[in-house]
């Protein structure tokens, strides 16, 4: 334990931290209100998608003695004035559509006035309210068709009116409106329940519910109409009441608790806390306030940020900066080595066992006078493994063309068939034997995984290919193929990046290209030096992994040791570093 303690202290110092005096904690829970935090600043987070705002505030003077945590609030969003205006006008337009006596000119004027705003609503792609924008698009379509038909088609009029009223109903509520609504509906419900349930029971006895559901047609029509009347009355009453409550509440800023945050040792040390409020709506303005709560659960006054802030969406998404750097480094390394190989520098790469077997397999098929089966997985061309499989096919078919062996390529996708035909044809051309290319040896079977495999299984037993290649994405069918191939005594070479299927190929095939080896295979088989360069680039990627893992592990371990050594402040700094590595660099 002592050793750990020493190491811990060392680590902390090594991390270039100042020496901190240990704090003494006066735990005195009082009933008094704690002093509030101060100097709250809210700023839009730069370089984001427009959904985050950074907050920073100074801790309450009572911290760290009595404060347990801080409460962060944000205002409930309201709608911008122009949106409210648009919604009002939309309502007017819907009414115009419903009123049959409106002269067409008036309707046209109203529509044309609103149309630009409608288009704007349709065009914006506002992720969280996709339904609203969807209806806006529909409404634009319906209204435009109506106008285009000269406003004479009655049915188009109906459709346009309906689309507009659907849009009106789909308008997303602001948070304030939604809260009002929730209050209303709960009261309305109470009112309804109160009225109908006992009445129904009185009318039909205790079994009213079953009767209602099963024998609805037996309830006399006048009773139904009467009940319906009661329902309408109840609804109206509830609505009036809800409106009254909403009005009484007024329009003051309403707050929503975002989070309760315990100050960490590091925060106490710096006397400052930060928090990023996420998931905000970039079409809204927000206010923020923060209060302190002490151990006796007494909340202080709140400090409010001076200005209302609206999140802004920027062209560049800064949250992905680290990703961009890593992409650049990996891609740069690959390109660098490709270029180096092109310039004629010799590159050394190790051999992969399965690859030398490709020649052997093709040769054996030629000797035995039997065909070669090549399966490029069961996924479509939008899977990189299929593409890698096709490039391997290119080499295999070139070899086959040279040896004069027949390659059969059944595919599970039409596009793969097309791509495979192009590839094989090119390979035969390259081998100088374009006449030997047989188009019909590359054919489509079915998209269905097990239909495809049922066909392959039968075909393999009947035609007994001497060599089987499985290169691409495979799922459960991997073992069916490999076992059938084995039972007919074929040489089998598999390559896939599906971790779950690798064991079956490893167990039942002669050679298996595991994961990354499969992607490397096409570069190897091409025999072109500059393609091999890309493998060196991949190795740089692996070095980066090694460095990042080792560095991360050292910091994380140092953190644990600091915790074990009870070095609070050191632990706090190290924790911040680990968090940064995990959440910022590696996200």
């Amino acid at each position: 334990m002592k050793v750990a303690r020493v190491i811990g202290v060392f680590c902390v110092m090594g991390a270039a931290l100042a020496v901190f005096s240990t704090r003494t904690v006066h735990a005195q829970a009082t009933g008094d209100r704690p002093k509030p935090p101060w100097d709250l600043v809210a700023k839009d987070r730069p370089w984001d998608k427009g959904e985050k705002i950074d907050l920073r505030w100074k801790l309450s003077p009572d911290d760290p003695d009595t404060i347990a945590f801080y409460r962060v609030y944000r205002s409930l969003a309201t709608k911008p004035a122009e949106q409210v205006e648009f919604e009002d006008r939309l309502e007017v337009l819907v009414d115009l559509f419903e009123d049959l006596d409106v002269p067409p000119e008036q309707l046209r004027a109203a529509i044309e006035e609103l149309l630009p705003r409608l288009r704007a609503a349709a065009a914006s792609e506002h992720g969280r309210h996709c339904e609203y924008h969807h209806h806006a698009r529909r409404a634009v379509g319906a209204v435009e068709r109506y106008l285009a038909a000269g406003m004479e088609n009655w049915e188009l009029n109906r459709r346009a009116g309906k689309a507009l009223s659907t849009l009106e109903n789909a308008i997303p509520l602001s948070e304030v409106q939604r809260e009002n609504e929730e209050l209303e509906t709960s009261e309305e419900r109470k009112a309804k329940m109160h009225l109908t349930e006992p009445v129904l029971e009185e009318l039909f006895g205790r079994q009213w519910k079953e009767m209602w559901e099963e024998r609805a047609d037996e309830i006399p029509a006048d009773v139904r109409m009467w009940l319906y009347g009661r329902r309408i009355a109840a609804e109206a009453e509830a609505e009036a009441r809800a409106r009254a409550t909403a009005a009484a509440r007024g329009d003051a800023v309403r707050w929503k608790l975002v989070v309760e945050l315990e100050p960490k040792a590091l925060d106490v040390h710096t006397g400052e806390m930060t928090y990023t409020v996420e998931m905000l709506d970039r079409f809204q303005e927000y206010s923020f306030k923060v209060s302190a709560v002490n151990r006796a659960q007494v909340e202080s006054d709140a400090v409010t940020a001076a200005a209302r802030v609206q999140p802004v969406r920027q062209i560049y998404d800064g949250a992905r900066f680290a990703l961009m750097v890593i992409v650049f480094v990996i891609c740069g390394a690959v390109m660098f080595f490709i270029q180096m190989a092109r310039s004629g520098r010799p590159l050394k790469v190790r051999t992969i066992a399965g690859l030398s077997a490709v020649d052997e397999a093709v040769g054996r098929a030629t000797e035995m006078g039997r065909s070669i089966l090549f399966v490029a997985g069961i996924q479509d061309m939008n899977d990189i493994q299929t593409i890698a499989g096709i490039t391997v096919l290119s080499r295999v078919s070139k070899l086959a063309a040279e040896y004069d062996a027949r390659v059969e390529v059944p595919t599970a996708r039409s596009l793969v068939m097309t791509a495979a035909r192009e590839t094989v044809q090119a390979a035969y051309l390259e081998a100088g034997r374009p006449d030997a290319y047989r188009r019909d040896d590359i054919y489509y079977v079915t998209d269905e995984q097990f239909g495809f495999v049922a066909y392959l299984q039968g075909m393999m037993v009947r035609e007994k290919p001497a060599a089987c290649f499985y290169m691409g994405t495979f799922f459960a069918e991997s073992l069916i193929l490999a076992e059938t191939g084995n039972s007919i005594g074929a040489i089998q070479i598999a390559g896939t990046a599906m971790p779950a299927q690798l064991p079956f190929f490893v167990a039942a095939c002669d050679y298996t290209l595991i994961g990354e080896e499969f992607f490397a295979a096409s570069a190897y088989l091409s025999g072109e030096a500059h393609q091999l360069g890309s493998l060196k680039g991949q190795d740089v990627g692996k070095l980066i992994v090694g460095i990042m893992v080792v560095a991360g592990v050292i910091v994380a371990t140092a953190l644990s040791i600091a915790v074990l050594a009870d070095h609070t402040v050191g632990a706090a700094y190290l924790e911040a570093i680990v968090e940064y590595i995990r959440k910022v660099i590696l996200t």
Binding site: I338, R395, S414, L415, A426, V506, Q531, S534, L535
Partner: protein, 232 residues
């Protein structure tokens, strides 16, 4: 020309989508491209289906061995296709009872559903179930302790197989509490959490690098085998 333009299209398409990821405005482009791909793949069915018909009709007309089975394939294919595309026997949807074509082509009880339920499903499920047999024969034949690697492979499979039945629990159930880490079910969990996690991670990191490098080779036009022949 015939090769340069496709190479250009490949590079532009790829690099634009890579760049699109880094802006909040364009992050949805990848999804749009995915939908476009689906449409393209669906159009390509015409090629695949046409090819299927051609092959089997050829077999029938040539009277090659087993041509009768080609007749079965063609009949099954055409019948399913016509019933499905024509929405034969499908009732309208409940929202639009007056639109004859509004119903779902897979409506429960319809002929297409019948084909799915009583031909497609049992056939594919049975093919899937055949794996139970192949797993057994593979275990018998391939799981032999030829070297240390093979011992590890079959040993782990052995422990997991045993640990996942009542027999496994019963075999080590007598172990006292302080040795509970050696109970088969716990050994299973440790293997899964430690060794399996490590192995899978290494494979996945490797695959990601392999995919990145392969993609790059394709985008840069270093690997262009898929583009076929023809003059430059």
């Amino acid at each position: 020309m015939k090769r340069t333009i496709p190479l250009f299209i490949t590079a532009i398409g790829g690099f634009v989508l890579i760049a699109a990821v880094f802006s909040g405005y364009t992050q949805s482009w990848g999804e749009v491209a995915a939908i476009w791909f689906d449409v393209l793949a669906a159009i390509a069915y015409i090629l695949g289906g046409g090819n299927l018909m051609k092959i089997h009709l050829k077999k029938i007309s040539d009277r090659t061995e087993g041509w009768a089975y080609s007749v079965v394939t063609i009949i099954a294919f055409l019948a399913t296709l016509i019933i499905g595309l024509g929405k034969i026997g499908v009732n309208p949807s409940e929202q639009f009872p007056d639109y004859a074509w509004s119903g779902s082509y897979r409506e429960v009880g319809g002929p297409f559903w019948w084909i799915y339920e009583y031909a497609f499903k049992p056939l594919t499920a049975t093919m899937f179930a055949m794996l139970a047999f192949y797993v057994a024969s593979a275990a018998f034949r391939a799981f032999r302790a030829k070297n240390l690697e093979a011992v590890l492979l079959l040993g782990t499979a052995f422990i997991i197989l045993l640990g996942r039945t009542y027999a496994g629990v019963w075999v080590t159930g007598w172990l006292p509490d302080w040795l509970s880490g050696l109970k088969l079910e716990n050994v299973t969990v440790t293997i899964m959490k430690v060794f399996n996690t490590a192995g899978n991670r290494a494979i996945m990191i490797g695959i990601a690098l392999g995919i990145a490098s392969t993609s790059l080779r394709v985008l840069l036009g270093v690997d262009r085998s898929y583009l076929g022949g023809g003059e430059e």
